[in-house]
Symmetry: C2
Subunit: 401 residues, 2 copies
């Protein structure tokens, strides 16, 4: 950080991070910067201001990804990209996503400044990206990186609607970030720094990790359709209660996760929509968002079969119909072995022991593995400030590589 201060930036990385954490603050240390919200717009504008202040060329593509580029080696040189996302869950933490973007800014600027000081040439251009809508709290997750990597078409992504029927196009336009710029060419390497969002590092008392593998996730929206009736006089056996069916599935999925070997399967139902959701009307509709996560594709498959069996059983006992409204499978996989190896070595040169860990959440970096060598670095997600200048130095060095 001293090097950065030396060239006279108004704010240090830690100042900048603290400043950023106040945007959309929920008052309890968390943030609410759901994609397309006013707070998200404010965070985006602040990021663009800092990018410009630090000398980046800023562009916003048609899906609202924000790119800041440093042209160090000429237009035709390869691009090394880092970044993450600045949208959050409705009650998200301030580190998730934002850390990787803000840290990426400083890392790239520091590499540039150090090269300039040493009068060295760079063989690559550097870039920092804030991907649009990683969280999926409002639209489908990983939207910006899906479009950039070609996993989803721009039109389908922009047409995607939230629960209120507002499209991603309208939401982005509403905060002034429906861009018109062409996205930069594909990078030769993508590096993402992220808080762990887990406890593998803390349990092992390590402060730096390299995500070498990602868990697969099967995300299923299960819809039950019953029939409204008065909760008073309607005989118990005549009810067609969609919520009762959904509740059975929630309990069954939890039992499945609880009974699995530790670390082999995570299950959840975290979102449930009930229709009409009135105290004395038997619910005619219930949609449960079920997630099944594992490192083992076979475990995911068996769990999915179990889910379907539970849904069928629950629908029968509740006398309702069921349907799969959405079915997204992300297969488990591995990050680039060469880059991961490099990360371990660079850490070692800096006197750090980095350890291999798994990521259980989805990340834009997982999408990027389809188009270029990708690596993810991670620091423990403790209650307090979870990133340290030491790890930060490793990050700088890595990006130089």
């Amino acid at each position: 950080m001293r090097k950065v201060d030396a060239v006279g930036y108004a704010e240090t990385f830690l100042d900048r991070f603290a400043h950023f954490s106040r945007i959309g603050s929920t008052g309890d240390g968390g943030v609410d910067r759901v994609e397309g919200s006013q707070a998200n717009g404010e965070a985006r504008r602040q990021l663009v201001r800092w990018m410009k202040e630090l000398g980046f060329n800023v562009s916003v593509d048609e899906i609202g990804n924000i790119f800041g580029l440093l042209n160090l080696a000429g237009e035709s040189a390869p691009l090394v990209l880092t970044g993450s996302h600045i949208d959050s869950q409705p009650r998200g933490g301030c580190f998730d996503g934002a850390y990787g973007v803000i840290a990426g800014l400083d890392a790239a600027a520091a590499v540039r400044d150090r090269l300039a000081k040493q009068s060295k040439a760079s063989s690559a251009n550097l870039g920092v990206v804030a991907w649009m809508g990683e969280e999926g709290a409002r639209f489908r997750p990983l939207m910006g990186s899906r479009v950039y990597t070609g996993a989803r078409t721009l039109q389908s992504a922009l047409d995607g609607k939230d629960m209120q029927g507002i499209s991603a196009r309208e939401a982005l336009a509403g905060i002034g970030f429906l861009g018109t710029d062409t996205a930069p060419k594909l990078p030769v390497a993508y590096v993402e720094l992220h808080v762990e969002c887990g406890s593998q590092l803390e349990v092992r008392k390590k402060s730096l990790g390299v995500f070498t593998r990602w868990w697969g996730a099967h995300k299923v929206d299960l819809t039950f359709e019953g029939k409204t009736a008065h909760t008073g006089p309607t005989p118990m056996r005549a009810r067609q209660d969609a919520l009762y069916a959904a509740a059975q599935v929630i309990v069954a999925m939890r039992a499945l996760g609880d009974s699995a070997e530790i670390g082999s399967l995570h299950t959840s139902v975290a979102k449930l929509e009930v229709v009409p959701n009135s105290p004395n009307v038997v619910p005619c509709g219930a949609t449960a968002c079920v997630e099944l996560r594992s490192l083992d594709p076979e475990v995911i498959k068996r769990s999915y079969d179990h889910l379907l069996a539970c849904a069928s059983f629950a629908a029968t006992t509740a006398r309702v119909k069921y349907a799969i409204a959405r079915d997204d499978l992300r297969e488990p996989g591995k990050f680039h072995e060469g880059l991961s190896q490099l990360a371990f070595e660079v850490a070692k040169c800096n006197g750090e022991e980095a350890v291999a860990v798994d990521t259980l959440g989805g990340h834009d970096a997982i999408m990027m593995t389809a188009v270029c060598p990708t690596v993810m670095l991670t620091v423990p997600s403790r209650a307090g400030l979870c990133h340290h200048p030491d790890e930060w130095t490793s990050q700088e060095d890595l990006e130089r590589g």
Copy 2:
């Protein structure tokens, strides 16, 4: 009906009912006229127009109850009141409530016209009321009749808020029905005609019933408080999942109702609010609206104890806290025996056999039992038009009594 036509009203009862059913129509035979909605305001204005057209003196009291009075016997004479409500559930039926109000209009006007034709004096004035907010789909149920009978203060009722934080005062003002009139004096008798909302009449192949008893209802809002976390990496046993706790209670309450002797206990959870309700955030909040209904106060008490035990168990297994956010107990009871007896006799005079049935839902008439002799008449709630001219005649005669 012919008698009414003879004096030249523009619309017959059936026309009027069909007309009314189109207000707030959901397009599938049902209506959405939740209290304070635009459709509810339109229904209220239509009712006031008809009251005036039929010669009623109309007043709207401070909680938004609409009264139409026929002064047939002078200011000091006793009042006989009939009516019901015109608000509905979000996906309500067109008969529930509206039938008793529209039918009440015709019945009172017919009594007046027949007396005039026969040049007979009346010993009582007649009134028709549309109680404000019976359903509780937006605010607490039975609000208008609670305030009229003194069971709830006007201020507390008007201050009551919906899920969006809009008060009943604001909702009524928004549709122009925050009245300023003084409510009429308490009646000497209250009669409410209502579709059965059950199957006792249909099962017994009867077309006219008298509600002689009402079931008790214990309505409990149960709140679970957990902690948000990422549904991906968070270990299963570290989760504090409020929705998981609520789902266990939903399943347990259904099992309780299913295992009870038929007709002894009805249980339901029809409304569930989940916080933050995002697909990959372990829910930190879940509020379940639980209802326990029975004719036997002991059964309600035992079921309530069981509910608390289930809530405690569910909270422990889900590692969350629980609290009772609302606890409304309506004891079971009996309608006025003399008026019920009269109803059976009048029906018999009209060649009808009326049978005694229970009502399992809440009704404004239950509130009225606290202030005057009250009786409820009921017709089967079939899929089609469930009221017939024959029953209707009985109603006219009853009101004359």
